[in-house]
C-alpha cells in the first residue's frame, strides 16, 4: 500500500492519520476536507467559542504531520471502488490504495431549503456566526434540549441573553433519564432559562427565521433561533459507490466498508440487529474508530468494541457518563448528594452495574468506566 486517502478533516480523520504514522506506516497520505481550517476540536464550539471567551487558537489541535498532503476547502464528490478513485470538487481526482471515509455529519435543519436565518452549531464558522449576533441580540430560542442544545442555552444565558429552550421531551430526559435530568435542569431553572414543551414538534417561522410555532399553536420569537436537533451523515457522495449505506456508511466490526475502504466517526454506522443500525456521533467514538479504521487498513486486525463515554458542561455542572445511553431508572448514590450538585452515581439493570456518572466530582476516568461494569462493595 503506497497511498492512503482520508476523506474528511475532523477528529476521526485526524486520529486515523496520527495512527498511521504512530504505527510507523510511512507511505503517502492525502487528506481532503471541505472545511477551511485544519483539524480543530468541535467540543468548545457550544461553549467558549460561542461566547467569545475562547479564540480560534484555543480550539486548534496540534498540526498534522508535515508530510501529509492536506487539501482544504475541497470536497470528495464521488467514489469508484473498482478503479479506487475519489473524485474531488476541485483539483485532480485521487487514486488510492486505501481509503478512510470520515466525512462526518452535518446538523439537521428544521427550516425548508432556501429559508435564511436558521442557526446551527457544528463548525467554527457556525459558532462565529452566532457569536457575531451576540453583540446586538437580546433573546434566543434553542430548539432541541439534548446535550448540544442545553450547552448552547447555558452559554447564551451566561452572556446575558433571555433564553428559551424548546423540545418534544423535557430537557435531557431522552438521554440521561429522569433522575439525572432532574438534577441538571434544576440548575437552568435557577439561571432563568425558560423551557417550553412541544410534544408534537415545532416549525420555524419567518424568512429570515425569527421564531418558532408549536404544533399546539404557541408562537415564540427571538433575535436568534438556533437548532440543535441532531445530525445527518454526509454520505451523498457515496450514493453510486456500491458501498452499503443505511443512514451512514455500514461498517463491519473492523471498521471496514469494502475491500481497502474503512470508515470512522459520525459517518459510520454499525448493524446492531438485522433491522437496526446505529451511529455513535461522539468525540470518544470518533477517536476510537479513527484509530481502529487506520490499524485495520494496515492489516492489524483489532475489532471494535464501543467505548460508551460522554460528557457535557452546562449551567455550572460538569457531567461525565460512562455506560450506554439512555440511562434508565434510579441509580445508587455512591458519593455526594443531588442537593449539593456534586455526586457519583451508579445505574444497574438486572442487578448488574451498567452505567456510572459524576456531576462536579473529580474522579479518574478509568474508575468511572470501571463503575459502569463492576459492582462496588457498599459500606
Amino acid at each position: 500500500m503506497k497511498h492512503i486517502v482520508v476523506a474528511g478533516g475532523s477528529i476521526a480523520a485526524a486520529t486515523a492519520v496520527s495512527t498511521l504514522r504512530a504505527h510507523g506506516w510511512d507511505g503517502r497520505i492525502t487528506l481532503v476536507t471541505d472545511e477551511e481550517t485544519p483539524p480543530y476540536s468541535r467540543v468548545p464550539l457550544s461553549k467558549g467559542v460561542l461566547s467569545g471567551a475562547l479564540d480560534r487558537g484555543s480550539v486548534t489541535l496540534p498540526a498534522l504531520p508535515d508530510d501529509v498532503d492536506v487539501h482544504l476547502d475541497t470536497r470528495a464528490t464521488a467514489l469508484d471502488v473498482q478503479t479506487r478513485t475519489v473524485t474531488l470538487s476541485r483539483g485532480t481526482d485521487l487514486r488510492y490504495d486505501g481509503l478512510i471515509i470520515a466525512t462526518g455529519s452535518r446538523p439537521r435543519r428544521l427550516a425548508p431549503d432556501g429559508r435564511q436565518g436558521e442557526l446551527v452549531v457544528r463548525t467554527l464558522a457556525d459558532a462565529a456566526a452566532i457569536n457575531a449576533r451576540l453583540r446586538t441580540a437580546r433573546s434566543a430560542i434553542v430548539v432541541g434540549a439534548g446535550f448540544l442544545g442545553m450547552e448552547v442555552a447555558s452559554t447564551l444565558r451566561a452572556t446575558g441573553l433571555a433564553v428559551t429552550v424548546i423540545d418534544r421531551d423535557p430537557p435531557l430526559r431522552r438521554l440521561t433519564g429522569h433522575w439525572l435530568a432532574d438534577i441538571v435542569t434544576a440548575a437552568p431553572a435557577e439561571t432563568g432559562v425558560d423551557f417550553v414543551l412541544a410534544p408534537r414538534g415545532v416549525t420555524l417561522t419567518g424568512d429570515p427565521v425569527t421564531g418558532v410555532a408549536t404544533a399546539d399553536g404557541q408562537t415564540l420569537t427571538a433575535d436568534v433561533v438556533i437548532s440543535a436537533v441532531g445530525d445527518i451523515p454526509n454520505i451523498e457522495w457515496l450514493h453510486n459507490s456500491g458501498l452499503r449505506l443505511a443512514e451512514g456508511v455500514v461498517v463491519d466490526p473492523w471498521c471496514q466498508a469494502a475491500p481497502s475502504v474503512v470508515a470512522a466517526g459520525d459517518v459510520a454506522t454499525r448493524q446492531i440487529r438485522p433491522d437496526l443500525y446505529r451511529r455513535t456521533p461522539h468525540w470518544t467514538n470518533a477517536v476510537l474508530q479513527g484509530r481502529l479504521a487506520a490499524l485495520n487498513l494496515l492489516g492489524v486486525r483489532e475489532p471494535y468494541a464501543p467505548d460508551h463515554y460522554f460528557w457535557t458542561e452546562q449551567f455550572g455542572l460538569n457531567i461525565k457518563i460512562a455506560g450506554e445511553l439512555p440511562l434508565q431508572g434510579t441509580p445508587i448514590l455512591l458519593e455526594g448528594d443531588p442537593s449539593s450538585r456534586s455526586l457519583l452515581a451508579q445505574w444497574h439493570r438486572a442487578g448488574r452495574p451498567v452505567a456510572a456518572a459524576t456531576v462536579n466530582l473529580p474522579l479518574p476516568i478509568v474508575r468511572l468506566k470501571r463503575l459502569a461494569t463492576v459492582a462496588v462493595e457498599r459500606s
Partner: protein, 63 residues
C-alpha cells in the same frame, strides 16, 4: 520534542492516555501529566497522536 500541557484546561477525559499510554498519564484527581520531560524520538508520532485527540486542545507539541 516536548509536550506542553495546559493543566487548567484539562478536563480529565483521558483520551491522551488511551492513545499514548507511554507518554501521558492521569494523576489521582484524574488530570493529565506527561510521563517524560523529553519525548524519545521513537515515540514522537505517538506523543503527537495523543496530543491531537484532546477535546479541549490542552496539549501542544513543541519542537
Amino acid at each position: 520534542m516536548k509536550i506542553e500541557t495546559n493543566r487548567a484546561a484539562c478536563e480529565g477525559h483521558g483520551l491522551c492516555e488511551q492513545t499514548a499510554p507511554d507518554i501521558y498519564a492521569l494523576d489521582e484527581q484524574g488530570y493529565v501529566y506527561v510521563r517524560v520531560p523529553e519525548i524519545p524520538p521513537g515515540l514522537e508520532a505517538s506523543a503527537e497522536a495523543g496530543a491531537r485527540v484532546c477535546p479541549v486542545a490542552a496539549l501542544q507539541v513543541r519542537r
